[in-house]
Each structure stands twice: as C-alpha cells, then as structure tokens.
C-alpha cells in the first residue's frame, strides 16, 4: 500500500530513531512511504492557540500536498500530536465549504487546493484498519514472547472521541492493546494508559509536567511492565529523554524503557534492537530488558 507519509518534525529532530525505525519496518509491512518533505509543522496545537485560521491553512497545505501524491491510498502520520492537530483542522475544513474555500483561496498562490474528505490515519489506525490484525500476525517472525508491554496512547489520538472517529465500530482507543497482543506480547494495564505525558506544559510548569511522566512510569513499573510503547514522539521526549528529571520530581528510581510503535513492530518482524535505534534512547531497552529470556532469545513457540 502506498501512503503519503508525514513524519512530523520531532521524528527527524530529537527522536531520529522513530523516523529510522519507520523506514526499516515499512517494507516488511508492504507499506510504500512517499514522504511529504515539502509540508510544514502541524502546529501541535500551539499555532491553533495563536491563530486558528493560520493553523488550518498550513495544515490544508499539507493535506493538499498529500492529495497530490499519485496513487497514494491515504495519508499516514507517525506522530499522535500531528494526527490530533491535523484532525482538528480537518474537522473545521470539512465542516464548512465557505471556510474551506476561503482557505483554498490562500493556497491558490501556490497552485494548491484541499478537497474535502482526506483519509489521514495514524500508523496505529492503519495497522488495525488497513493491514488488519490477522494479516499482521502472519508477518510476525519473532513473537514478543515474555515481553510485558504497557501501552501509552498519548492524548491526541484518543480524545476528543467524536473528532477522531472513535466509536463502537472503531475502538481506536483499544488498538494499541490489540497490536501488542497480535505481536505476541503481554499487555500490561496500568493507571496511565490513556493519560497525558505532561509534555505540553514542560516549559510552563516543569514540575507538574514531569510529575505526570514520573507517575505513569512508576505505575507501569509497579504493574511490572518491561517497557512502554508510544505512538507519539513528544510523549517519548517526556517519558524517555526527561526520565531522569521525572525520577527526581516523583522521588523514586525509574528505569522504564519506552519504545516507539515502529520499534515494537520491528522487533516482532525480526529486526534487531540496535537496527531499530534502541541504543539512542536515554533509558536503553537493551540494558533493562533481558533479551536472553524475552523476544530475541525467547524459545520459539511450537
């Protein structure tokens, strides 16, 4: 399947292992990535906070670039925050033709136009809804045996439900659970599964921000998770890069590896932890997880 692929800013900045691991797993999932390298930042909610029309116009430009990719089935995000910011803009653009026309008027300077009804999915949604869990299971070369994984969804792909199309038929707020199971891992439920990592207020109230990250990491440790998996690089920054700081704020030792979703997929699809950029993490999964007993060295199921 061919997708117009928006990697976001942070996957090419402070979490390069996310961009690299997505590139590594895409061919194994039969996904052809056409990178939207001309598109700009989604605004992450901050540009919308500043000026809604500006955020919507910049995102309409990205959507128009995605619609111009020949043969692409849909647009794909690997950053939850981008997905949320895109969904918010698209909701307004699709809801009102006069508003859409006005914004397309601005895009006309570049010869671009957004047509209502773009399909824009996060990798997580695409795995379940396009590839399918049964199909995904068939692609697994090395099940995540003995790996206890705590899902951490991040806010932007679970709320608000109505905008994100979450309903009884599309239980997108359960998908990470299902994917971990499909890959052969054990799901660990803990209090922070659908909570906020705290990243958006790290410059405004660092203590409250890191207290959120620290609590979720601590809760996952108490629930005996080996690692967390996140579909959002901004969550990764607060949960991994800031983990030493979060540890100080909550007053307990934390050693919780945090994997990006493509890294978890890559492990099950047979790639090595290092190949997936896990040596780049602040809390190295390779140092915390006993790979001789889990996944890599685990007995092959009969």
């Amino acid at each position: 399947m061919k997708v117009a692929y928006w990697p976001g800013c942070v996957s090419r900045g402070f979490t390069p292992e996310l961009h690299g691991s997505m590139a590594a797993v895409a061919p194994l999932l039969d996904i052809e990535l056409v990178e939207l390298d001309r598109a700009c930042c989604s605004g992450a909610g901050v540009i919308a906070e500043h000026n809604q029309e500006l955020a919507d116009t910049l995102n309409a430009r990205t959507f128009a670039l995605a619609q111009a990719v020949q043969g692409a089935d849909l647009m794909m995000n690997i950053c939850s925050t981008c997905q949320g910011a895109h969904s918010e803009s698209q909701e307004r653009l699709d809801a009102n033709s006069e508003y859409r026309d006005a914004i397309n008027g601005t895009l006309a300077a570049e010869g671009l136009s957004y047509e209502k009804g773009l399909t824009n999915k996060n990798l997580l949604w695409l795995l379940v809804e396009e590839i399918g869990l049964e199909n995904l299971k068939k692609k697994v070369k090395r099940p995540l045996t003995n790996l206890k994984v705590g899902p951490f969804y991040g806010c932007y792909i679970v709320r608000p439900k109505e905008r994100l199309g979450i309903d009884a038929e599309h239980q997108r707020d359960h998908y990470l659970h299902w994917v971990i199971e499909a890959l052969g891992g054990t799901v660990i439920d803990y209090a922070g599964v659908h909570k906020c990592c705290g990243f958006p207020i790290v410059t405004m109230n660092k203590e409250a921000s890191l207290k959120q990250a620290g609590r979720h990491l601590g809760d996952a440790m108490d629930a005996e998770a080996d690692c967390l998996v996140v579909p959002c690089p901004l969550c990764h920054l607060n949960l991994d890069l800031q983990q030493p700081g979060a540890s100080k704020v909550v007053g307990r030792d934390l050693a919780m590896p945090v994997l990006h979703l493509p890294q978890l997929l890559g492990l099950a699809l047979g790639l090595d932890p290092k190949q997936l950029g896990m040596s780049k993490h602040v809390v190295k999964p390779t140092a915390v997880i006993d790979w001789s007993a889990a996944v890599v060295g685990a007995p092959v199921p009969a």
């Binding site: 090419r12 900045g13 901050v46 809604q52 906020c196 409250a208 700081g245």
Partner: protein, 371 residues
C-alpha cells in the same frame, strides 16, 4: 429486560474503614439510565448507598460520577452504553465510582464546595460592568452573545474537574470549569475588566498556562462546553490582543514556537526551549532564565548527545523545509497575520454542513477583534 452487575464504590470517611466495591444485580431495560439502576438498588436492596441527584434529566448537574472509568452524568448514561465502555468492558458489568480530584463525602457523593465551587469563585464569576452604567439596558451585538453561549451551557456538574489531568498533579490548577466560566465574562463586551481578568489568569502559576492540553475535559463534558477550547481562546486573547507576557513562559513559548515555524517550516526543538525561557531570538539562550533551565537540563542534553540522539550540528542548525516551500509557508503567515481580525470557526455554533445543504459561513464564522 437485561441483567447488569452494578459495582458501586462504597466509602464512609467517618467509619474509619477503607473504601471497597460492593456488587449488586439489577434487572432493567438497556435504555434505562445508570442513575435509575443506582436508585433501584437504593430502594430495593441497600438504602445506605449514597448518591446525589435531582432532576434526572441532565439539567441540574447533580449526579456526576465515574462510570467504568469515564466521567459523566449517571442520569444521562444508558446502561447498555455504560456496560460497553472501557477497555475491559464485558457488556454486563458497570463500575460506578465517585468523581476524581474532589474529596469523597460518602460513596458517590463528592465535596463540590471544597474544589469545584472554590475554583469558580476564584475567577470572579460575575459581570464587572463598564462605566457609566447606561440608564436602560446595555445593547450587546448578537454575535458577541452567541460567542459566549457555549460557556453558558455549563451545568456545573464537575465532570471536567473530575478527570482533569493537570489538576491530578497540580490541585491548585484553576481547572476547566472555572476557565470556561472566565471566558464567559472575558468574551462579554459589557465587562470592563477583560485585561485584568486575563492578566490574572496568565500570571497565576496555576492559571491558563497550566492546562496540559489533554482534551479530557472536552470528552467529559455532557453539554459540549469544550472547556479546553475556552482555555485556548483565553490564551489567544491574552497573548494576541493584550500582549500579556506572563511569568510562566506561556506567551514566550507560543511566540517562539510560531516564529520558529515561520523561520524553518519545521520545529527547531533545540531553539524552542531556551527561547521559551529567555525570549524569542537566537540570543534568548543567553538570558539568565534560559541559562538556569539549560543548566538544569544539562544531564538530559549530555545523554542525548552521547547516545547520538541529537548531534551538535543538528542542535545548532535545526532542520528546515526546501527554500521554495518555506517561502510559500511564509507567504501564508504574512497574509493571515496581516489581517486586522482573527477568524475563528466554532463548530458548536456553526454546526456541521450537510453535504447536500451548505450552510452560510458568513453567519457562522465568529470574528474576534485584534487589538
């Protein structure tokens, strides 16, 4: 008729006993409400169950609870929907707990005075009229009153407060309900103290810049008030119209973010943080406030460099989109930022257009004056 397992979290602080969960079996039709099931238990099985309720029609806001982990009104939640809610939902079991972020008085009744109403009072929830007060009534433009109708829909049930994730780690946070109430008056043209109200909420370390942007309150609200959207509007008016530079880095963070996207097309993370503390220029990192924060973050930065997560070159130069595209993006910034007015489309007011029947945007696009 269907049979449900109703699990109620019981707690009497005066008893000295720890909270516990008690199970009841209830037979009711699936379209009946969770409140009806609780009242049936109270009437027929256990009169000691504590629940606060009144109108039973989602108007009074008395019966806010958590149902299978999600906040809502017990009277406004069908049993069938409740039993399907939550990751471990089995279609039969419904766990009802008291709302969060507030102390429990008994069972499902929380102390709204201790938290919710205190925060509402904190935002001066009444009109401070412009002088001189006219002899007859104020005449307010229709569009201005429509603009605040969304916040006026609040029934003070506390569902948003219950699950506010900022309040969970910072109980002093002014919170979603009070912020929505603040916009009720900030958006009212009769009020004389728009600037003071915003300055107060922006400068408060637990004010509008303490919201973690998690959307929880938007989903929690049974009335579509979207408190988080109101907080974003408060921020927009505070920074965009009044240029309030607050001590919490809220305005600086927004300004730095926007100007970095204008300059690079992509986020230059290494510049964003120092500029949020030290001011929006390359020299921001040399400001003492930025210096202190950078020093504090040094262990993380050093580790990121050592692990080759971040290169020195990448941190210095950032990344940007191709030149021609950057020029186009900057053209969009120039065009929109040079407008005298900001345009906002609030779907709560305008509704969603039917494919066959376009609605006129002219009446549904709210405009806000730029200073």
């Amino acid at each position: 008729m269907a049979e449900y397992t109703l699990k109620l979290r019981r707690y009497d602080p005066q008893s000295g006993e720890a909270p516990y969960v008690e199970e009841y079996r209830v037979e009711l039709e699936p379209h009946r409400s969770v409140l009806e099931a609780i009242l049936k238990v109270k009437n027929e099985q256990d009169g000691s169950v504590g629940i606060r309720c009144s109108c039973r029609a989602a108007i009074c806001g008395s019966c806010g609870v958590r149902i299978n982990g999600r906040p809502g009104l017990a009277c406004h939640t069908h049993l069938s929907d409740a039993a399907r809610t939550g990751v471990n939902a089995d279609g039969v079991t419904i766990l009802v707990e008291p709302m969060g972020n507030m102390p429990v008085i008994k069972d499902l009744i929380v102390d709204m005075d201790a938290v919710h109403w205190k925060k509402i009072q904190r935002v001066t929830p009444w009109l401070l009229p412009k002088q001189p007060v006219p002899e007859r009534e104020y005449v307010v433009p229709h569009a201005n009153m429509v603009d605040v109708t969304q916040t006026m829909a609040c029934i003070q049930c506390g569902a948003c407060v219950s699950d506010c994730l900022s309040m969970e780690v910072d109980p002093l946070f002014v919170g979603p309900a009070a912020s929505a109430k603040a916009y009720r008056f900030v958006g009212d043209p009769r009020d004389a103290e728009q600037f003071e109200r915003l300055k107060d909420l922006a400068e408060d370390p637990h004010g509008i810049f303490d919201c973690t942007h998690c959307f929880t309150c938007i989903d929690a609200c049974p009335k579509g008030v979207a408190p988080m959207s109101q907080i974003m509007r408060l921020r927009r008016v505070a920074t965009g119209d009044h240029h309030i530079v607050d001590r919490n880095n809220g305005e600086r963070h927004e300004r730095a973010f926007v100007s970095l996207i204008r300059g690079y097309g992509l986020l230059h993370e290494a510049e964003l943080l120092p500029r949020s503390w030290g001011g929006d220029s390359w020299f921001g990192k040399f400001h003492p406030a930025a210096g202190r924060e950078l020093l504090d973050s040094l262990p993380s930065i050093a580790k990121a460099v050592a692990r080759r997560k971040v290169s020195i070159r990448g941190a210095m130069l950032g990344h940007r989109i191709p030149k021609a595209d950057l020029k186009a993006v900057q053209g969009i910034f120039d065009k929109i930022e040079s407008k005298g007015r900001r345009y906002e489309l609030n779907l709560y007011i305008s509704g969603v257009e039917d494919d066959d029947e376009p609605v006129a945007a002219a009446t549904s696009t709210s405009e806000s004056e730029s200073a």
